[in-house]
Amino acid sequence: MGSSKQLTAGCAMNSNWLKKNTFHYSEFKDIVRLVDEKTKKNLRISLCLPTLNEEKTIAKEIIIVKSELMSRYPLIDEIVVIDSGSKDKTRAIAREYGADVYRADDILPHLEKFKGKGENLWKALYITKGDIIVYLDADIKNIHHRFAYGLIGPLLLKEKIKFVKAFYDRPISIGKNKIRPTGGGRVTELVIRPLFSLFFPELTQLLQPLSGEYAGYREIFEQISFPIGYGIETSMNIDIYQNWGLEVMAQVDLERRIHRNQDTKALGKMSFVILNTFINRKVQLGLIKLNEDMYDEMIQYNLVDNRYEPDCLKIEGHERPPMIQIPEYRKKFGISEKSILKPVKA
């Protein structure tokens, strides 16, 4: 983008997408139809829950999805929990309620070990068997099976769709067990939306690009790289958009999701990681050039005994390569090296 002449987003973007590829979960409420379609297409579907100390919510997520979409209707074939090393009872509870539980460190153990949500999602590709993989955050307080079937629906019923993201109202849980009706999504509105508006205006049509709930075909996920931490959603959106185009993407209104409120400092750290990921992606794609390296520490300050003390968070920005490049994965799924296709933008 030249500095003297700025593009106008309205001209640059395909605004039909929002109308055409935005759905409401209730459009996919007919689970019998989804099961029929899945059977007809001979597909398997895996649900992956990445966890770190989620003992309060994990059982509820497993049991509701299992009851409604496994026991009653065979839509989902497996529920897999990939844990980053919880210190609480997350793994024991998840096992008790019937999920397949793995420690991230035990998967592909010869690789260097990292901790982070992106790492768990990436390793889930190796562990799960599904042709479609549904990723749900494990801290959803008001979990309902619509979170899963709403994301699976467009993948089964809409021919071109390969990746579906959730959006919702975001009431946030505040002190004393009360909720306030609106709020949340601050990092989206203050960081990611301005960035998308500046560089990828079409992606602004994703109403909640940072939502932690999405589903897609394995053939998509296995061909993109995964930052190990918070940046995963940002990079995933950009990579899928860059490689296959907006037409393979869809978003589904799941209505209401109650999540934990995070303080401004925590959101600051999250924003730092997202900015880091975003800028790195731009550089990797050859879209911008940095004249010097970026620093890798987020510096915040705390007032301690009338003194300001720095609170530094080092972000190493590790990124896992596309899973399809991992020999063990290719072996497990019977993929020959030759058959690794480069994605082509639709």
């Binding site: 059982a59 509820k60 299992k66 009851s67 024991a92 008790e96 307080k141 008001n142 009360k178 109650i258």
Partner: protein, 390 residues
Amino acid sequence: MNDYLKEIPGLVEKIKSLKDIIITNIVLIGQTPAPTFKEKKRSKIFMERLVEFQVDECTTDGYRNPVGIIRGSASGARSPIFVIAHLDTFYERDIVHDYTIRENTITGPGILDNSLGVGVLASLPLIFKALDLRFESDIVLAGTIQSIGKGNLRGVRHLVKTWPTPIRGSVCVEGIELGRLNYYSDGMIRGEIECNISEEKGVMHQFTPNAILIINEVINEILNLRLPHRPRSRIVLGKISGGANHGKIAYDGTLGFEIRSDSYKMVKSIYNDIKDIVEGIRHENEVELNLKTISNLRAARLKFNHPLVKSAAAVMEALQIKPISKSTESALSIFLSHKIPSVTLGITHGENNYMENATMEIEPMFKGIAQLIGVIQAIDSGVCDEQQLA
């Protein structure tokens, strides 16, 4: 021994195999707030679940109590059996109804009273199918609205009063405590005494009265009342509130109480005594002091040797549950006052009832459900048909 009694212990494990679905029903229903008079959303979810589990009919009655019907093999020839649980809870909508499931517990507001009961009710059609159980009578599954507090059991009163056919018998389902076998209810009046000190211009007090002290005076007078040993009677002072802050005279105060007795006549007599106390203190202190009735129930009972009570006790015994009988002020009394044999049963054990961290135990629930099924089978086998209520 009746055949169904022999088979009841064997049901527990089979019911347990449906654990995921039963817990899901409890959580999906319980996480939908349903304060009294605002039960519409929970009612909708309850009906959705019944429809999904393919009850033969699902509708609301004229008072909007959601009702599902499983048709019996002798539907029409036999009167229906009612299984009910009240939908409403004490918690307002702005409280996060967030349930936490752990290895053997579920915690969350309203779980014991009575999301658990409603969740189990919603699961019954599926459980009946899984156990291959069929009944002669229609089974009417009703989630009643406007039950607790100021609701004054309006939902169930309407349901029973307007049901077009005789009712063979009923079971009221409550979350806790497993082992309860309620077959009688005391006469009861719940009331509220409100004191308001007028701040209006022109109202002159030599010394501004304090609403809390006025309420205190009322309490002292109530405590001076002599209650008879026979019929058994008592007054529970259960709720109090008032004032605005520490350093200001309280301009308002409210006392909630409940009078219970074996005899409704005695309840009314005590109520009149309290009314006299209120009028006297109002007059002496020149304050606004009012008494109002929140809800009332007439005393009603099954005899302890009624076949339904005996059968329910036998079912519990078969499951090694020790029955405990106490009076209950609930929907039971509405059925009994319509001369419909009824009992109230609890489903599991729990703690912190009426608190936001109310917690139910999962494991005993399966026995509790087996017990409920056993009692329905007993009614279907005719234990309520032989002996009408006096």
